[in-house]
Symmetry: C2
Subunit: 192 residues, 2 copies
């Protein structure tokens, strides 16, 4: 499918308000079926997604959000909770079939598990947002929420913890903030 | 610029060998000038990049890599070290100009600093790899290295720590591994 780098990067903006257009189940599946191909270490694929759309689920999520993020989260057609499965290594026999010892690289090593889950579920969260943008869905990622409350409300009884949360829909251009500056190549990079 | 989702996701593969075609400084700048627009929390932009290309710099990096990653790292035209600046919040007055109190959200809070640096530099690492693919540059991301050694060799005297490392160039199709399976939508996602 054709997309442009402007759509993915230069012209894409974090959205703070959304138009009423819905995001279909079919679109959510298409986003997942693109982003799932992005690379993770040992193909560990720790990201898990809950798509919050019904009024009941939104009502559970709203009190977990920081005050500044609550109204836009209630307004967005869908809010994605991007989680990380802290027992991701249990799936390595399935996901990394050519080395059946891969699970032992993680089992019983909490610091390695934590770094791997956070690094790779964040990579996958970025693939997710760029896949959404590729399909014409705008994103509003947020870190302002009570993660203990979100974990209890949406991942109880699982080994998943919340990484970040992202509103999805058609952005309302009237709600955009002015774009903030970025570091120059010289500030962020060196060539040796 | 036109790209395809196949080029970014479906058909893109982690490369384990590289053809001799070089990656120019101009291409490295173009990758950065795309990926820098990807969203980070409070625009904190903690990722820093060292592009290792000269024989001298490659010789410094090779002993830091795990045995299985050494030969392909020496062979790749460029190897990017993706780091995270643990003092990223010092740049918030510049990067988040509309709230000059943003630095105080992080200063003296090591757990928040660590999670924010890791989450956001990983998001930026993913933007980086998809920007490279958009410009026709193949990626070979790796977590198998001694991070204490890489930090000492490339970030000494700075507040930057290594997150992950990524070979860049034109992939050698002969060195590809068979593609590993991904979780289905039902295994990774729920719609509420």
């Amino acid at each position: 499918m054709n997309v442009t780098t402007e759509q993915l990067f230069d012209d894409a903006r974090t959205q703070n308000g959304f138009l009423p257009d819905p995001v279909s189940d079919e679109t959510l599946r298409r986003i997942y079926d693109l982003m799932k191909w992005g690379p993770t270490s040992a193909n560990c694929s720790p990201a898990r997604f809950v798509f919050v759309r019904s009024p009941e689920a939104k009502a559970k999520l709203a009190p977990c959000m920081s005050a500044g993020n609550r109204a836009k989260t209630l307004q967005a057609p869908v809010t994605a909770i991007i989680g990380m499965d802290m027992a991701f290594y249990e799936k390595l026999p399935q996901l990394f079939p050519h080395d059946q010892t891969a699970r032992s690289w993680f089992e019983g090593k909490p610091a390695v598990i934590e770094a791997t889950a956070m690094r790779n579920s964040s990579l996958q969260g970025a693939y997710f947002m760029l896949a959404a943008r590729a399909l014409g869905v705008d994103c509003g990622p947020m870190s302002g929420f009570d993660s203990t409350m979100v974990d209890a409300a949406f991942w109880a009884g699982t080994t998943v913890q919340t990484n970040f949360i992202c509103n999805l829909g058609q952005g309302d251009p009237a709600k955009l903030f002015p774009r903030s500056p970025r570091l120059t190549f010289e500030e962020a990079c060196a060539v040796l």
